[in-house]
Symmetry: C2
Subunit: 150 residues, 2 copies
């Protein structure tokens, strides 16, 4: 696991810092320190270490997709030809901007794709392109009617 995130020792204080940053990534180091009983510089050192160790991959804004025009999503089960590698899958997925999630799975299907688009037409287009991939033998789609939790 060289260079990976598994090589880092994470203690309770790290856990606490991570939890706070997940709650609000814009908390100041001083504020985090106040809750974790640490000085601001000490918090920064730990956060830097967690980022360097890829435990924290970054910080992002949680945006309402509907508000910026991405109103439609779907989950698509992918059935693939005999030997389709994960590498092959993710390379294909990265060519399609509508793909926001991709997982290989156990069960009937080989992979599960999470799609997001401006409208049904966008989902349809992405689906057509996915089905055109040489390794895809068939698909089964679930259009998301409402997002209850995410």
């Amino acid at each position: 696991m060289r260079g990976g995130s598994g090589s880092l020792r994470i203690d309770d204080i790290d856990q606490q810092i991570i939890a706070l940053l997940q709650e609000d990534a814009r908390y100041s180091y001083a504020e985090i320190g106040a809750r974790a009983a640490l000085s601001a510089p000490a918090v920064k050192r730990r956060v830097d270490r967690l980022r360097a160790g890829k435990v924290i991959k970054g910080f992002t804004a949680i945006v309402d997709p509907v508000a910026i025009g991405w109103t439609t999503e779907a989950f698509v089960e992918l059935f693939c030809t005999g030997r389709t590698s994960p590498t092959q899958l993710s390379a294909a997925a990265k060519r399609h901007p509508a793909v926001v999630g991709l997982f290989t799975v156990s069960g009937e299907a080989d992979a599960l794709v999470h799609l997001r688009a401006a409208d049904i037409a966008g989902i349809e287009q992405a689906l057509e392109r996915l089905r055109a991939e040489p390794f895809v033998t068939s698909t089964r789609s679930m259009i998301v009617l409402s997002r209850l939790i995410d």
Copy 2:
């Protein structure tokens, strides 16, 4: 649409600010302003407005789940009794900490649940609890073998 995010007008500069904050939620207002051709206070005002309008729901750290001990996930298709309301579904889901995503869907299943746990045992336990819900008639599980994109 009172109070909702749909009532807010979002122009190109807002889009740019949102994109930058999605890229790194800890960019300073000054840095965002430099790229969006705005002063720092002007950026702050727009961000405050976007947050108040729920377009930006918050800021969070992107954490490697494996690094903090959440190594296993699954997607579970839920088949429910005749009239199961979304409200009922999400109320039930909130009782189960392993549920990280929940969607009502079109297709064979009524809902799709995204589970995350420390190990297979945790997934199994969450699944048992879900199946014990009175409105659940049956389930179909996909264990995630590898997360390629998310």
